[in-house]
Amino acid sequence: MADQPVHSHAEAPACIEVVEIVTDYLEGALPPAGALRLERHLATCPGCTEYLEQLRAIAGSLRGVTDDSFPPELRDSLIADFPHLRNR
């Protein structure tokens, strides 16, 4: 392990490639060998680790950030019409 370069480019993807595959990684869509290469890269690359954590944070914290609720008056009139909709 001692002789291993910080970034072994023959095997590991470069950072500019890593930023394009982190979502595939987070989604579990990378083939096992690809995931392993990415993890080896992450182990020595603070920049890519930070990037991965940022995308993970985004993925995990957007619940309810924008509100697209159905206007209450439309909802209520739809539900009031429900018996008629079923009786046609």
């Binding site: 392990m1 001692a2 370069p5 910080v6 970034h7 480019h9 470069a14 950072c15 500019i16 490639e17 930023v19 394009e20 982190v22 979502t23 595939d24 989604e27 869509a29 020595t44 690359c45 603070p46 920049g47 890519c48 930070e50 990037y51 940022q54 995308l55 944070a57 985004i58 993925a59 914290s61 957007l62 619940r63 309810g64 950030v65 924008t66 509100d67 697209d68 609720s69 159905f70 206007p71 439309l74 909802r75 739809l78 539900i79 019409d81 429900f82 018996p83 909709l85 079923r86 009786n87 046609r88």
Partner: protein, 238 residues
């Protein structure tokens, strides 16, 4: 209470709708309408048109519920009807591309991060390595949605192209699984991930811009720093 499968839950809900149970209908309307508005907005040009599309869809769902056979989930079935209604509405507005075509049109191969943020491909020692690392964000206890970041994120999502906006809204804002999104929008797993990645990347970039603009890059200084860093790590591991 015994745990019921999603199929059993759908069957119970459909039976209640067929019996004319208004509470079941209200529950369904409340749980799916926000996501339906998000999807409708990919096809029609305005919020008002999207609301109208959702309303029309619910009417079609109730009229057609006797024909539901349970071959897909109830949710998928509802969203297929929504897509048809929205496409017809979109056609009236001369915007009737199927979602997969919207997705294709947005697939421009644009990089997630400005390539200038990385050392050039012909760099002797560290090709393609970060020249300017991702700017760190303060991470408050309450997470990204605390305070002003929430507005930054909301604006960034609103500015996304339609297909990307729809996918991130369903996955991350509504919390759907990738399978649910693929089925409702009729796109491949790969396309779903591409759209999600582009959308999350753009939101990330917007947050980064908010916390600190990236300054001009001195590639020589970055190289020197990386070399010093590498030497230090090699010394450590010896």
């Amino acid at each position: 209470m015994p745990k019921t499968s999603p199929q059993e839950q759908d069957a119970a809900l459909v039976a209640a709708l067929r019996r004319g149970n208004a509470d079941a209908f209200a529950t369904l309307v409340d749980s799916h309408s926000p996501a339906m508005i998000r999807v409708a907005l990919a096809y029609v040009p305005s919020r008002a048109a999207a609301e109208e599309t959702v309303q029309e869809t619910w009417i079609a769902v109730m009229r057609g519920v006797d024909a539901f056979e349970g071959r897909s989930s109830l949710k998928t079935w509802i969203f297929r009807i929504l897509t048809n209604v929205a496409m017809r509405a979109g056609a009236r507005e001369r915007r009737s591309l199927p979602f997969s075509a919207l997705a294709e049109a947005e697939n421009t191969g644009e990089p997630s991060i400005d390539p200038d943020r990385f050392l050039p491909a012909d760099h002797a020692l560290f090709p393609g390595h970060w020249a300017i690392m991702p700017t760190r964000w303060p991470t408050p206890e309450e997470g990204l949605l605390a305070g002003e970041t929430r507005e930054v994120i909301a604006v960034a999502i609103a500015k996304l192209p339609a297909a990307q906006r729809t996918v991130i809204a369903l996955r991350d804002v509504e919390g759907w699984s990738s399978e649910e999104v693929r089925e409702a929008l009729e796109i491949s797993a790969g396309n779903q991930r591409i759209l999600l990645h582009r959308a999350r990347s753009r939101v990330r970039n917007a947050i980064e811009d908010y916390y600190g603009a990236v300054e001009e890059i001195d590639y020589d200084a970055v190289t020197a720093e990386l070399m010093a860093d590498t030497a230090e790590k090699e010394t450590d591991s010896d």
